[in-house]
């Protein structure tokens, strides 16, 4: 019997199959699942890496050292908020700090030593890094044109003593960069005090007028948002209590745009303008006579210098109308306390003479001990300090002299420009960077020994030198460094030993030094309360507090006895020449993101929100291009 299959059977079987599928879950279930599938893009699905917890530390990206409250899932921070009442920052945070947890995963992050030879960048292992460095160390000191120099972005740390010891052992230089923001004009003022240097801070809450010669006081310098907040609060008080900011600058910077008054001035004529204000103050007897009599010396000499800067001459030099100079001087005298800040090494550097004129202006206004309070430095370890190399200012680095340059991870390119560093190098110099990033100075180095990224290691953080009181945090790490990361400090120690030099053992005595001082109070962020340091029983108890993100703040220092010199020896002719001569040409650099220039780390990629997807800030590339054109 033969089975006859026809087309009809095929159609019937096909119909049966269709009916069978239709009567099965296939179409309906597939419809549902496919609908979900279309909503399933290849986007990451963030899952908590553990229970929610809040941990405290401090931000290391700029000198403000703001308190950070990290929102963590397990060990992973996913965001930060500021800590209101924190002694270093009082609730301020900037875009860089808010994205600090991204930096460990930055595309420029390096986790293995890298060497550039013959224009090619190659990864090397630990042994090769040690060998390269030890050979360079051994060669140092033999030739005075090929000395060793180490640049330390945050002097005063326990690690800084190692760098000083290394400079001592190799007969080299221990270099410190210029202080950021307004600190430079405070240094200039402190140097005029009897017996050398007096540390001064800024207390904006005690000032009614803030004159800024290009220092970005409202935006970039000091504690984020602090002066803007104080000024806005004062606007709702009687007119006599209002804080006003006067920005004197050659360009309408963001700080100038936000200031209550903007005085555009010809570039490089700041000294003449400051002396013009001094002239009006002295000529109209508006200066703080009591302060000048009790606390300053050399008034007559200064007065005769200032006498040459009548408003009409100042107008001619600076382009600021004489009436504006006179009115500003009168307003300052009528609205005491007032303070004057000058320059910013990162964005608007001033000449030493301009800083000197600004310091004198502060003295005429009686600013020291009022809005410019005296403060003591945070306690440091002092054992054997006398035997260590003292600091060489960055500006004093001799040209063509350095054969081996070591750049600590804390060095910011904004304060230590590569163009200037390059001048100091001799031919074929080895440039070693401990930056964890293949960016900024880390990219320029010929030997990169990447260390822990921000938040991956404990850091000693002193607050900004323009804060009214010293602060110190031994900021705990929030993240673990990559497991096989060779620690650069260990490589340097190994290389030093291999070169036949000796270094003292690493110390971690900062907490002990602080405890021994019995000064100040310590802020516990989890309890939001202060405790006197004298009440802390042991170094361990103090270290534990710091490990929880605590921050120490000093007591107000007593007013010292002594006088400020209105003019230092031999200063008058230089000042006169600088103010009357051709405008000094200092390279003004463009700042891009807030605080980017004083940060040693590249910004998180997320900050493209501010530079590319909005026009709030100039994108770094465009800024570089326009700087190159200029």
């Amino acid at each position: 019997m033969k089975l006859e299959l026809s087309r009809r059977d095929l159609f019937l079987a096909g119909g049966g199959a269709v009916a069978g599928i239709a009567l099965s879950p296939v179409p309906w279930k597939l419809l549902d699942d496919l609908a979900i599938w279309t909503q399933q893009p290849s986007t990451p699905t963030p899952r908590p890496a553990g229970p929610l917890a809040f941990r405290h530390t401090s931000c290391s990206l700029c000198p403000a050292s703001c308190g950070l409250k990290a929102r963590c899932f397990g060990a992973q921070p996913v965001g930060f908020s500021a800590v209101p009442g924190h002694p270093a920052s009082d609730g301020g945070l900037c875009p860089l700090g808010l994205t600090a947890h991204h930096l460990a995963k930055h595309p420029f992050r390096a986790t293995l030593p890298e060497r550039v030879s013959g224009g090619k960048r190659e990864r090397i292992d630990r042994a090769a890094a040690v060998a390269t460095l030890s050979a360079a160390l051994a060669a140092c000191g033999k030739n005075p044109k090929r000395i060793f120099a180490v640049v330390d972005g945050r002097p005063g740390r326990s690690l800084s003593r190692t760098w000083r010891a290394l400079a001592t052992a190799t007969g080299g230089l221990y270099v410190t960069p210029p202080a950021a923001g307004a600190s430079r004009s405070l240094e200039a003022l402190g140097k005029r005090f009897d017996g050398g240097s007096l540390a001064l801070g800024v207390d904006f809450s005690k000032a009614r007028r803030v004159v800024s010669f290009g220092t970005p006081v409202l935006t970039d310098a000091g504690t984020p948002g602090l002066l803007a907040r104080l000024r806005a609060e004062s606007r709702r008080r009687p007119a006599a209590e209002r804080i006003e900011v006067i920005q004197v600058e050659a360009t309408r910077s963001r700080g100038a745009a936000l200031a209550d008054r903007f005085v555009p001035i010809a570039p490089g004529t700041e000294a003449a303008f400051a002396l013009g204000l001094a002239h009006v103050l002295l000529d109209e007897k508006l200066a703080d006579a009591a302060f000048l009599a009790a606390r300053t010396s050399g008034l007559d000499e200064f007065a005769s210098l200032a006498a040459r800067f009548a408003p009409a001459l100042v107008e001619q030099k600076t382009g600021v109308p004489a009436g504006v100079v006179t009115a500003l001087a009168r307003d300052l005298a009528a609205s005491l306390p007032a303070l004057v800040l000058g320059g910013d090494p990162a964005s608007a550097p001033l000449s030493a003479e301009a800083e000197a004129a600004i310091a004198s202006l502060n003295l005429l206004l009686g600013a020291p001990f009022g809005p410019l309070p005296v403060r003591a430095d945070a306690p440091r370890e002092a054992d054997g300090d006398a035997k260590l190399a003292s600091a060489t200012p960055f500006d004093a680095l001799p040209d063509g002299s350095v054969g081996l340059l070591l750049l600590d991870a804390t060095v910011a390119e904004g304060l230590v420009p590569w163009e200037r560093l390059k001048r100091a190098l001799s031919d074929g110099a080895l440039v070693v960077s401990l930056s964890p990033f293949r960016a900024g100075l880390g990219e320029k180095a010929t030997l990169l020994l990447p260390g822990p990224a921000p938040l991956e290691a404990m850091l000693e953080l002193e607050g900004p030198s323009d804060a009214p009181l010293s602060t110190l945090a031994l900021a705990p790490a929030l993240l673990l460094p990559p497991k096989d990361l060779p620690l650069p400090e260990e490589i340097v120690r190994e290389a030093t030993a291999a070169a036949g030099l000796s270094l003292p053992a690493p110390s971690s005595g900062r907490a002990a030094a602080l405890l021994a001082s019995k000064r100040g109070r310590i802020y516990d962020p989890s309890a939001a309360s202060f405790e006197p340091l004298a009440g802390i029983a042991s170094v361990d108890a103090l270290a534990e507090l710091f490990a929880r993100g605590a921050c120490w703040i000093d007591d107000a220092a007593p007013e010292p006895k002594g006088r400020f010199a209105l003019l230092r020896e031999g200063e008058a002719p230089r000042l006169l020449e600088a103010a009357l001569g051709a405008p000094s040409a200092l390279p003004a650099r463009l700042t891009t993101l807030p605080r980017e220039s004083v940060s040693a780390a590249p910004p998180s990629l997320l900050l493209t929100k501010l530079t590319r997807e909005t026009t709030l800030f100039t994108p770094p590339a465009a800024a570089n291009a326009s700087a190159a054109r200029a």
């Binding site: 059977d9 019937l12 079987a13 049966g16 269709v18 009567l23």
Partner: protein, 192 residues
Amino acid sequence: MKLPAPVSFAVGLVPALAAGWLLFPRLLYRTEAQPLAFNHKAHAEGGMACTDCHAVAENGRFAGLPSTESCAGCHAEKGESKTINALVASYVEPGREVPWLVHARQPDNVYFPHAPHVTTGKLACTRCHGPEGESTTPRAYQVNRLSGYSRDLWGPSMTRAGRKEWQGMKMSDCIHCHRAGGRESACLDCHK
């Protein structure tokens, strides 16, 4: 001989039905094994409540699965059984979390807070999770190859007919219960 029409039809129908009902679910879902043969029943009989391991924290977040650390609170050392030995050797000693496959895991854009349901609404755990606490071995974890979601979201039955209340956790199931209780809410109450 010619085949009768119903037979020809059935030749197509029967394999299609078989493929649709028997083969399709096997193709659609991939079965994965749990890392450890956890016995809920033994723990429950030992006097433990669900919330001893699956608790709502003070901040209102549901911890979900217990951490290895909390397992180690009782099972710090090897010895009692093969599973405990495996737990200690693979997770407690190296300090790793157990990579459990979570039957009830919702899609990423779903926000399901336990606190309002359990603490405020006083719903029993079994209302949504079924008699999970009586299981002696973990159920096989089945994952939908297309959506990547756990099979528990749809439920064990392909037609969803005749399923118990805890079998299935689709949005329509959430809405059904919320509507019945007059608790209709905004999209962003349950989505993130």
